[in-house]
């Protein structure tokens, strides 16, 4: 294979799809084959989301009477109750603080560690890598009891730090994914930088990280979703209601012997809006803009 030169316009042209080109026969064929698949899958995937949304406008009695029927009137009491929920604002704030600090910190931790695994030579590398892999294999509920004891010892139980530090321990995913992405950075580029006298920090920051931006964004998106939706650790590590995260806070909406589906769906609709927004911005900003920007140099 030969080396080639990529220009920023190429990247942009690829990314904006066929719109800048004439539609060829092959494209039409592909569209005919692929769109039905995409659409079919989308229905299966979006249905729960759609159901959650329209069910949130049904009264509990209506849902019981027909679970999948569309609402016959716009019942807003669920949302009224959700927004009247004492502390909804503070649940949001808690979730934002914990998720943002954790994800930003985790990105810093796992990008640097992944760089070390990809580009640095040291003894015990295999051992350390396998040690990190172990972290991916542990089911979270296996650590709850001893983790609780450990947080008590550290004196950070019922603080955000208990969650943030616990999530900081989740670097294995980012390390595994980013090491793979970093290693895919063409040797010639990082070597040419070395010839220019750039040290590890410069190569990490100016070359490797920008070129691996799609993978970094992917890692960021998924870490955010996981941390935002995490229920188990906040449940056990937080005790004061004013520090509850959103999934924990809206648990109030369901009861022991009284399934409150309508109310729950309203709460979950509100809770889902944030990760959706975050995804929207992350994919726009990172996957596209910065990627192309980096290559423009």
């Amino acid at each position: 294979m030969t080396s080639d030169t990529v220009s920023a316009t190429d990247i942009e042209a690829r990314d904006s799809g066929h719109s800048s080109r004439r539609m060829s026969m092959a494209t039409v064929g592909k569209a005919l084959l692929l769109y039905p698949i995409f659409l079919g899958l989308s229905v299966i995937i979006l249905f729960p989301l759609v159901w959650m949304f329209y069910s949130s406008f049904k009264s509990n009695a209506d849902i019981f009477a027909d679970v999948f029927a569309l609402p016959n009137s716009l019942y807003l009491d669920n949302y009224k109750q959700v927004f009247q929920l004492a502390g909804l604002g503070s649940f949001f704030r808690s979730s934002m603080i914990v998720s943002l600090v954790s994800v930003v910190g985790l990105l810093a931790l796992s990008t640097t560690a992944a760089y070390a695994f990809a580009f640095m030579e040291f003894r015990g590398k295999t051992f350390l890598f396998l040690l990190f892999l172990l972290g991916l294999m542990v089911p979270p509920q296996a650590l709850i009891i001893s983790g609780y004891g450990w947080m008590t010892v550290l004196g950070i139980l019922d603080t955000y730090w208990a969650l943030i530090f616990t999530y900081f321990g989740w670097s294995a995913f980012g390390i595994l994914v980013l090491r793979d992405a970093f290693e895919a950075v063409p040797r010639e580029i990082s070597d040419s930088a070395k010839v220019d006298g750039a040290g590890h920090w410069a190569r990490f920051w100016y070359i490797v990280l920008p070129l691996a931006r799609p993978s970094t964004a992917t890692v960021a998106i998924f870490l955010f979703m996981w941390i935002w939706n995490d229920f188990l650790y906040p449940l056990v590590y937080l005790q004061s209601e004013e520090r509850y995260t959103l999934p924990l806070g809206i648990m109030f909406l369901n009861g022991q012997y009284a399934p409150e589906w309508g109310l729950q769906m309203a709460g979950l609709t509100v809770a889902t809006a944030v990760p959706l927004t975050v995804y929207y911005f992350l994919q726009k900003q990172f996957v596209r803009g910065l990627m192309a920007g980096a290559l423009k140099g």
Partner: protein, 321 residues
């Protein structure tokens, strides 16, 4: 460093050679500096990892050698390997083990297949690709509470729409119980797992695909290779290391599968969808046998670790180490 150098992208070799290729020539003179750099890059992640993952894990490991019911620290008695001996005779544990293996094999086929096909399809840059990419991420965003309700009720023969749908298209003989039938529940769990997790693997593959220079594909096209041949001979080899990693992740995630089973069936009916993680959770949290539950999870972890180590070595994810 000029912008020319920056924009020169040279494809990887067919066989990826990860790790740093050329040794640092100035290494000898800067040993201390390199060590400091290594510590700066790796230290923080390792520190938090050890403090907040390994320490609790060590605690769980130690508890697995006790008969602790989990109520008071005074009640901890060391019982040596008793829990592990009991596990060897625990019928539910072994059937959970078999279920995990089934889910592992099934998930590798289904998840890898679906994620790869969709990643390549979205890579065709048809109009709306980024919309569909977003749609396929949705299962990660949706709370499991919704998933459990929609699929639990949807599959229910009393309230759901699956059986009527089968009947409507003349396949009524396949209608029946889904999550309540011991023979069908595990395949259903597998499908639901694929539904909920393929987006992650698809995203990882797409992120790698984006980084493949367009010129490579064009060069192949000029050589007269068709679309499928280009994918087979040019794209897939470049995805090899990412695919290896994705399959490792799928394997790990299906071995430690917990939440989905917990919300959909709690391991039922009558343990027909029990997996090791749910059984360990039942023992540790519901049955107040934290020692035994911890032992169950430790066995799961050791098993996963052995499999992962074999895999990592076999597929030379570490061949430069």
């Amino acid at each position: 460093m000029s912008s020319n150098q920056m924009t020169t992208i040279v494809p990887e070799q067919q066989t990826p050679s990860p790790g740093s290729g050329t040794p640092d020539r100035t290494a000898g003179r800067r040993d201390g500096h390199r060590k400091r750099e290594l510590v700066a890059f790796l230290g923080p992640a390792l520190g938090f990892y050890v403090a907040f993952m390994m320490v609790p894990l060590l605690g769980t490991f130690l508890i697995s050698f006790t008969d602790w019911p989990g109520f008071s620290l005074d009640q901890i008695d060391w019982v040596g390997l008793d829990n592990f001996r009991e596990l060897a005779d625990d019928g539910v544990f072994w059937s959970a083990f078999r279920h995990n293996i089934f889910l592992l094999l099934g998930a590798i086929v289904l998840n890898t297949g679906l994620a790869l096909v969709l990643a390549l399809a979205l890579d065709q840059h048809l109009r709306g690709s980024s919309f569909f990419r977003g749609v396929f991420l949705m299962p990660t965003v949706i709370s499991l509470v919704v998933v459990a309700l929609v699929f639990g009720l949807g599959l229910s023969p009393s309230l759901g729409f699956i059986n009527p749908a089968f009947e409507a298209v003349g396949l009524g003989r396949f209608a029946g119980e889904w999550l309540g039938d011991p023979d069908r529940v595990l395949p259903m769990i597998l499908l639901l797992d694929t539904w909920s997790s393929f987006g992650l693997y698809m995203f990882l593959l797409i992120a790698r695909l984006i980084a493949i220079p367009k010129e490579l594909r064009e060069a192949a096209a000029i050589d007269g290779a068709g679309e499928l041949r280009t994918i087979w001979y040019v794209i897939l080899p470049l995805l090899r290391s990412t695919l290896t990693m994705v399959m490792l992740l799928i394997a790990i995630n299906s071995l430690k599968m917990f939440e989905l089973v917990y919300v959909m069936t709690s391991g039922g009916p009558n343990h027909a969808s029990e997996v090791i993680a749910t059984w360990g959770y039942f023992q540790g949290f519901t049955a107040t046998r934290v020692g035994y539950g911890s032992a169950t999870l430790v066995v799961l972890l050791v098993l996963t670790f052995i499999l992962a180590t074999i895999y990592v070595r076999k597929f030379r994810m570490q061949d430069d180490l």
